[in-house]
C-alpha cells in the first residue's frame, strides 16, 4: 500500500483522482488513460468482464452462449427511489449452480458483483447495489459448466452512481 500523497492544488485534482483510481486496480480507469489494448487482451475473462464498460461486452466476457432461464429468480422492486441502495436477491433453481453475478445495464461498469457458491451453500444471495439509471438488471449464473442469464426491468427515480 502506497502512502497517501499530499493534496495537490486544485487544478491537479482530477489527475489525482485518476491516479488513485488506477492505484486502486481499476482497469477501466487505466484503459481510459490510454493503456495499450494488448494489456486488456492478456487479462483473464473475469477481469475482462469486470473491466467492460458496456452491457454487451460484460455479458460476452462472462460466456458466449448464455441461455435465458426462468429458473433464475431475481427479486427487485419495480421502482427504486434511490439508485444508491437497490435491494436485490438472486436465486437459482439450476442444478450445479456455482456462481451468481449481478450486471446492471447502464452502470459505467455493468458487472457489479460476482458470488462464488461452494457446494453446501444454497444458490441464493441477497445484497444491495448502485444503479445509475433505469434499465435491465441481469443475473448471470454458472451451473454445471454452462452460463445462464435472466433479467428484470428496473425504474430508478434518482441514479446512484456518484
Amino acid at each position: 500500500m502506497t502512502p497517501k500523497p499530499p493534496k495537490p492544488p486544485a487544478p491537479h485534482r482530477r489527475r489525482e483522482c485518476l491516479a488513485q483510481l488506477a492505484q486502486g486496480g481499476l482497469w477501466a480507469a487505466l484503459l481510459t488513460c490510454g493503456l495499450p489494448r494488448a494489456a486488456s487482451a492478456a487479462a483473464d475473462p473475469l477481469e475482462l468482464a469486470f473491466d467492460a464498460t458496456s452491457l454487451d461486452r460484460a455479458l460476452q466476457a462472462m460466456g458466449e452462449h448464455q441461455i435465458l432461464s426462468r429458473d433464475i429468480v431475481i427479486t427487485l422492486p419495480d421502482v427504486a427511489e434511490d439508485g444508491a441502495f437497490v435491494a436485490i436477491s438472486v436465486g437459482s433453481a439450476l442444478p450445479g449452480t456455482s456462481e451468481i453475478s449481478i450486471v446492471v445495464e447502464h452502470n459505467p461498469n455493468p458487472l457489479v458483483v460476482q458470488f462464488t457458491l461452494p457446494e453446501g451453500t444454497e444458490p441464493f444471495v441477497a445484497t444491495r447495489v448502485k444503479v445509475a439509471a433505469s434499465g435491465r438488471v441481469y443475473a448471470v449464473v454458472q451451473a454445471d459448466g454452462k452460463v445462464y442469464a435472466n433479467y428484470r426491468e428496473l425504474q430508478v427515480q434518482r441514479g446512484g452512481c456518484a
Binding site: 500500500m1 486544485a10 485534482r13 482530477r14 489525482e16 483522482c17 488513485q20 483510481l21 492505484q23 486502486g24 486496480g25 481499476l26 480507469a29 473475469l46 469486470f50 444508491a84 441502495f85 437497490v86 436477491s89 446492471v104 452502470n107 461498469n109 458487472l111 457489479v112 458483483v113 460476482q114 458470488f115 462464488t116 457458491l117 461452494p118 453446501g120 451453500t121 444454497e122 441464493f124 444471495v125 441477497a126 445484497t127 444491495r128 447495489v129 448502485k130 446512484g160 452512481c161 456518484a162
Partner: protein, 103 residues
C-alpha cells in the same frame, strides 16, 4: 467504536441463514466533496465467509455495491456454536475480519 462487521448466523431446520453488514464507504471516485474535489475511490474488492476451513461464500465486489455492503445467504451442515467468519479486503489493501457463532 462501531463494529465494522456485523454478522448473524441463525440455524433454522437444515439451513443456516447468514447476514453480514460491513461498514464501508464504498466510494466510487465520482463523488465530489463540499469543495468540489473528487473523493477518491475506496471500496471492498473481496469478501470471504467461512466456517472453519470450509468456504461458504466468496464475493468479488466493485464500487457499485452500495455503501455498507449487506450480504445474505444460506448454507447447510452447521450446528449451533459453529463459527462463521467474515473477512474483507479493500482497494487500499485494508482488511477486516470478524466472527460469530451459529445460534
Amino acid at each position: 467504536m462501531t463494529q465494522a462487521i456485523r454478522i448473524r448466523a441463525r440455524l433454522s431446520g437444515e439451513l443456516t441463514e447468514v447476514r453480514v453488514l460491513m461498514l464501508h464507504p464504498m466510494e466510487t471516485g465520482l463523488r465530489k466533496d463540499a469543495e468540489g474535489a473528487f473523493v477518491p475511490a475506496h471500496y471492498i474488492t473481496t469478501v470471504q465467509v467461512s466456517t472453519g476451513p470450509r468456504t461458504l461464500l466468496q464475493a468479488r465486489m466493485t464500487l457499485a455495491v452500495s455503501q455498507d455492503p449487506l450480504l445474505s445467504f444460506r448454507f447447510r451442515g452447521a450446528k449451533p456454536g459453529d463459527p462463521v467468519a467474515v473477512r474483507w479486503l479493500d482497494n487500499r489493501g485494508r482488511q477486516q475480519q470478524a466472527q460469530t457463532l451459529v445460534v
